[in-house]
């Protein structure tokens, strides 16, 4: 079902390019480095025994992903957040992998827009 979402929302990207002007590049690089850290944090939560931590970590990444218009990654994060809230460990590693794959893809996509 995440396939129903586009990788990026072009309207949001256009709006951000407009708003940030010359700083759009900074935004993209900040987002990429930030997200890399956050992905590490998500991974670490898998070692903890509390699915809620996993959910919270996904929630944070979802927020910034939504803001930069990477819609499909935001949707994947939402699914991970939901798992955490429902305390459901089932399939969380799959979701994490999907997020990582999606992240690599959109990172390139965003850089290409700079």
């Amino acid at each position: 079902m995440s396939a129903d979402f586009p990788h990026v929302d072009d309207d949001i990207i256009a709006e951000l390019q407009d708003l940030m002007a010359g700083d759009f590049e900074v935004l993209v690089s900040t987002f990429i480095s930030d997200s890399t850290t956050r992905l590490q944090e998500i991974k670490q939560t898998l070692e903890s025994s509390d699915p809620a931590d996993f959910g919270k970590a996904c929630h944070s990444l979802k927020g910034s992903a939504t803001n930069v218009g990477v819609v499909r990654m935001a949707e994947l994060c939402r699914q991970g957040e939901l798992k955490g809230r429902q305390a459901d460990w089932q399939g969380v590693t799959d979701i994490l992998e999907e997020i990582e794959t999606e992240f690599e893809l959109i990172a390139e996509l965003l850089q290409s827009k700079v």
């Binding site: 700083d23 900074v26 900040t30 919270k56 944070s60 927020g63 910034s64 803001n67």
Partner: protein, 590 residues
């Protein structure tokens, strides 16, 4: 005056659209990319920003930077947005610092939580610059309004404090000026229950030098300070003039003139002035605008109506200071009240009323505790509904002056610098005789003699007697025997009034000398009038006969009293001419 508070701080009415103003916003978000976006939006709108990377940081930066509006991410490490919001609201105290939650949460429960912890609004991700801008504007408006309200509230509370301080000072000045005088005399009972700190009703009592008692009950328009303020000049004048021996007519004229001058339009003072004359067993009244007073003479209730407008309305030319004189014997009582009594309402909103009052008084007319009964009846009537006006009531009983129990205030030490040897000639003639009472004036001159002020009561009595005899029996030719007939009392004053009005020729010539003898002095007074004189030898013989027969002065008739009083007070009393000249000596010591 409170002008200092309204000069430059007039209460602002919120201007419709405030000038766009650069605000400081606190942006607290743990995602640096989100912060970048928010900063860009906020800067594009011309505002300044402070960044915080988590909840704890947000609280610290809030304290440091005092932002106008806070944008707070809900989920943050260390301290989440909810807790940070709680702390920030607490720190802000009564200042209105809007908090807008930044949230990727979208379930109703989470959004509700944002508001319940003190958030004012939320902004969902992805951020929409236009929506955020609109929210900032809306909150800025609210913030300004709140600031205005705070400022106005502070102004009001400061003004109020100032007002109370001023009232406190004013109250103590007021109490010193409008003091109760000698209301504690044994023949007076009174009730005075003000509706506010300041009383719109005034009750004053003061003894004349002659010992007669002057009483004033005044009811100013309104209540509280504005009503009480007029009471100060009223009391000053009343006490000052009474102590100097002025007559009720003079005093009421002065009071009216003063109040007409100082009170604004629509403000006045309903008043009843009384002079209780112990020697003559008379009560003199002037009533303007108050409910009927009652004179209880034996088991008779006589109403004394207000036949004048209140004080402070008429100009002196049209003001009528004429008084009533009523016979009032030992034990007779006089009741007066402000309209607070008859206008006391019960829970149904109906008035206590004059009829109920008169019925109660008639029923218990001889009861010793009538005053207490009236008070209790009025209070019972009002029940739970609180009085809406100042309640003032006074009972005055005729008794002898010696029974009053008034301790006279210690006279100021007589100055040693006054005149000791002098003489004075004063001639009053034609219609001035009827219009002017020279007694207070003469008294003032005489008591300038060092040491003589202590005897001002006796001196006053002597001059009044001499002057009244010269005017009434000399110039006006009134027969004092007129007073002793059954309704002669009223008749006497009626004839006197008529003759005063017709008076166009006549004189009273007064000559006074004073010589000191080191320890005291001799005051010699000589009064000559233009009247036809009288058979003074016969009268003096009659007085001597009465005195030697051991009949008390009180049993004496009016005609004899004036002379026997003079004879008692003076060391020498002699008539000359046809009896139109009298000369007396008053010798005083220490």
């Amino acid at each position: 005056m409170l002008t200092s508070h309204t000069d430059d701080q007039t209460l602002e009415s919120g201007s419709p659209e405030p000038q766009p103003l650069s605000l400081t916003l606190l942006i607290a978000d743990d995602s640096s990319s989100d912060r970048l976006i928010l900063k860009a939006i906020v800067q594009a709108q011309g505002h300044r920003f402070i960044e915080a990377i988590d909840g704890e940081d947000a609280v610290a930066k809030f304290v440091q930077g005092k932002p106008d509006i806070v944008l707070l991410d809900a989920i943050m490490p260390r301290l989440d947005g909810f807790e940070a919001a709680r702390q920030i609201k607490q720190l802000a105290g009564e200042d209105n610092v809007p908090i807008i939650f930044l949230t990727a949460l979208n379930d109703a429960e989470s959004l509700a939580k944002c508001v319940s912890v003190g958030g004012d609004d939320f902004l969902s991700k992805p951020y929409n610059p236009i929506i955020l801008q609109a929210k900032i504007k809306a909150f800025d408006r609210m913030r300004r309004m709140h600031k205005t309200l705070q400022r106005q509230r502070d102004q009001i509370s400061e003004s109020n404090k100032q007002l109370l301080r001023e009232q406190y000072v004013a109250k103590s000045v007021f109490d010193n000026v409008a003091h109760r005088g000698c209301l504690e005399a044994r023949n007076i009972r009174y009730l005075i229950s003000p509706l506010s700190i300041f009383n719109g009703d005034v009750l004053l009592a003061c003894q004349k030098p002659s010992g007669d008692l002057h009483i004033l009950l005044g009811d100013f328009t309104g209540h509280g300070l504005s009503a009480a303020i007029g009471a100060m000049p009223l009391a000053e004048l009343f006490y000052g003039m009474t102590a100097k021996g002025y007559s009720l007519r003079n005093i009421v004229s002065e009071l009216n003139q003063k109040l007409t001058f100082i009170l604004p339009d629509g403000f006045f003072c309903c008043a009843c002035l009384l002079a209780l004359k112990f020697e003559l067993n008379e009560i003199e009244t002037w009533m303007g605008g108050l409910p009927d007073s009652f004179l209880l003479r034996g088991d008779q209730l006589l109403r004394v109506k207000s036949n004048h407008l209140p004080l402070g309305i008429l100009k002196t030319e049209s003001f009528d200071p004429s008084t009533y004189l009523l016979e009032m014997n030992r034990g007779d009582r006089f009741y007066m009240w402000s309209d607070g009594i008859v206008e006391t309402t019960n829970s149904d909103g109906s008035f206590y009323g004059d009829e109920r009052l008169a019925a109660l008084v008639s029923q218990h007319i001889s009861a010793d505790d009538l005053f207490a009964r009236i008070k209790q009846d009025v209070l019972d009537f009002s029940g739970d509904s609180k009085p809406t006006d100042d309640l003032t009531m006074l009972e005055l009983t005729m008794m002898s002056e010696q029974e009053l129990g008034i301790t006279k205030p210690a006279q100021a030490l007589a100055t040693r610098r006054g005149p000791k040897r002098w003489e004075l000639t004063y001639r009053l003639q034609d219609d001035s005789l009827a219009n002017f009472d020279p007694v207070p004036l003469l008294l003032q001159m005489i008591v300038e003699v060092p040491g003589l002020r202590r005897h001002s009561g006796q001196v006053f009595t002597i001059i009044s007697e001499l002057y009244n005899n010269a005017l009434d029996h000399g110039v006006l030719g009134l027969e004092s025997a007129l007073k002793s007939s059954p309704d002669g009392f009223a008749r006497y004053y009626q004839v006197r009034e008529e003759r005063c009005q017709q008076l166009c020729e006549g004189y009273i010539h007064i000559h006074i000398t004073h010589a000191d003898d080191g320890k005291g002095g001799l005051l010699r007074l000589r009064f000559e009038d233009s009247g036809a004189g009288f058979d003074y030898q016969a009268k003096l013989a009659a007085i001597d006969a009465v005195t030697s027969a051991g009949v008390s002065a009180a049993a004496n008739n009016y005609s004899g009293r004036g002379l026997s009083l003079l004879k008692n007070l003076c060391t020498r009393m002699e008539f000359e001419g046809v009896g139109n000249i009298i000369e007396v000596d008053f010798e005083w010591c220490g």
